[in-house]
Symmetry: C2
Subunit: 340 residues, 2 copies
DNA sequence: TTGAAAGCGTTACCAC
DNA sequence: GTGGTAACGCTTTCAA
């Protein structure tokens, strides 16, 4: 026989006190006489009272959940980010709620919603957050942390993308590769994702420092998907001067590249080397050489930054840059016909 | 210069009408004179007005997001469930918010919170939801759909666990296996997860129908993790009468079993066969024979059931049982020493 | 068709 | 230390 949830007034009545007193007891701000406190507590207990988040939120102007906006939450990299965030946020007792973004419109919808909800804290992953939104959250004193994206004056955790891509370039060149291709995402996308571009630039710079250059015809970008990456790889393999190695902007795309190489009857790591990016869970299982995106650590770090901001709103914006290390596995090896 | 968000009163003032009129225009219930409607719309536009979800929620007693409670959201099976839910919920314009559960306390916290929030709809994945909670949501007219868990009178989407495990048994026995082990989760856990138990029972029944039986010493349960599953497998392999095949309660655990087999210097699929459960994304990539848990389809189906319940609250509770098909890959083969 | 008034459940601000 | 009272922003009566 489910009864209507009790209100603070009912608790007050049962305890023989006023509503504000109940509020004080439950929120523990000011001191209340011991016997009253006791009466309130048992009344609340007896009525199974739980405050209405909406009424409280309306009154205080803030809601008590931490929100996290994350694009394509089912993608391997997002999964690891979320894993880290979930772990890192465990310290604060506030519940976490996740908002997925699959279409550009989703972002603005969530931003609007959260702007009005004034969450206890907000983490935005990978998406470009405009100045109006940032200013709005700042004005509302909503602690904000960006993960894999940045904004002036806002705390963020990012990866050293250039360094990572540079290490990939160095690894391949040391193995003897001279023709390295890049497969990534469309560089101007509606979400404002920038990592693929940064990784390409990092590769380009890395190769240049080693006296090589990234042949423009060896750069393929498109929608982020394994199948698309496979198609691009197939094209590259059939072209005039096929690459002997591929750097993909993500492990997902690297898997596509591996699919294509095998379909072409070639051997990954022997005929064509592949390097991924992220070191998602699957990479180790399929022997994919990759750049460790420190996804879980980044998520944790972001959550901890947020926790600090929540505890001490005065603490100023911090940007953490995480190192991107190379994880060598079997998908890379010397190129064929390596005549010195 | 971020300004405080506009209230309905301010919009009303600017439009030269009363607040209720603004409300009527924006919610489109009743009819409003065309010129007033126009004035209201442009005032709202000009002030960048967006209603406060809290005030609205407090007044109407419902919030306008769909909620989903999912345990261990970073686990492969949860990821695929979420993928399906996200896809299936796209039809309703309501935003989705995800609540992760990592500790038993998280569930009750979220349930409490959502009970007071009265979301537009709620999906609970895999967790046991008590009668009080179910009754509470029913009393509050919150549409509820359960995924991979059930409750009398509540719509749910479940997998034919027994059928799936039976197919696994049949496949192994047909290959010639006689000693099949099972590696699963603790069967009484604080979350109320039941799938591992059902899968074990299904295996047991399947073997019995084929004239075999599941040796109790070949059943190992423990915390859900790859490493634990690996340790169990190692033990099984070193025991008196080692199994020639292992059914794992999940792909994650199957991967652990494969790790252990390789560590023992044996070959997966030749010396020892392994079948997983779920057909998570990774299974195909590592050649794991598994039972397709239809994770994405189940998520979609659950979301669509919820959408129906939201549109037509009168529609009655439905239980959808999904088929669990065998996906044969390279991790299963005939047992060694198969002397007929 | 429109507005005035009330109230959702809570907390902040005063008095006492 | 405690209790009125008001107010958060909105929608829902109810009259006009």
């Amino acid at each position: 026989m489910p009864r209507k949830p009790a209100t603070i007034t009912e608790v007050a009545a049962l305890a023989g006190v006023s509503a504000p007193t109940v509020s004080r007891v439950l929120n523990g701000n000011t001191s209340v006489r011991a016997d009253l406190r006791e009466r309130v507590l048992s009344a609340a207990e007896g009525l199974d009272y739980r405050p209405s988040p909406m009424a409280r939120g309306l009154r205080t102007g803030r809601s008590s959940t931490v929100a996290c906006i994350v694009p394509f939450v089912s993608n391997p990299s997002a999964v690891d980010h979320v894993r880290g965030i979930v772990e890192g946020v465990r310290g604060v007792d506030t519940p976490l709620s996740l908002y997925d973004v699959e279409r550009p419109g989703d972002l603005v919808a969530h931003l609007d919603h959260l702007d009005r909800m004034r969450p206890a804290g907000l983490i935005v992953v990978a998406l470009h957050v405009g100045s109006e939104a940032v200013d709005g959250f700042a004005a509302a004193n909503v602690p904000l942390v960006l993960l894999d994206t940045t904004h002036p004056g806002v705390s963020s955790v990012v990866l050293d993308e250039h360094g990572g891509a540079d290490r990939a370039a160095r690894h391949l060149v040391e193995l003897g590769h001279r023709r390295v291709a890049f497969i990534g995402d469309d560089e101007d996308n509606e979400f404002g994702f920038t990592s693929s571009r940064e990784r390409r630039i990092g590769l380009e710079r890395g190769l240049r420092e080693l006296g090589l250059q990234l042949d423009p015809s060896h750069v393929r970008t498109g929608p982020h998907s394994r199948a698309v990456a496979a198609a691009h790889t197939t094209e590259l393999l059939l072209a005039e001067n096929p690459p002997t190695a591929v750097l993909a902007a993500s492990d997902t795309q690297a898997l596509g590249a591996m699919d294509a190489i095998r379909s072409a009857g070639l051997t990954v790591g022997a005929d064509v080397s592949v390097i991924g990016f992220d070191d998602a869970a699957i990479a180790a299982d399929v022997g994919l050489t990759t750049i460790d995106g420190q996804l879980v650590a980044a998520g944790q770090k972001a959550a901890r930054l947020l926790a600090r901001l929540m505890t001490d709103p005065a603490s100023d914006a911090t940007t953490v840059v995480l190192d991107a290390r190379l994880r060598v596995r079997s998908s890379t090896g010397p190129p064929p016909h390596d005549d010195p």
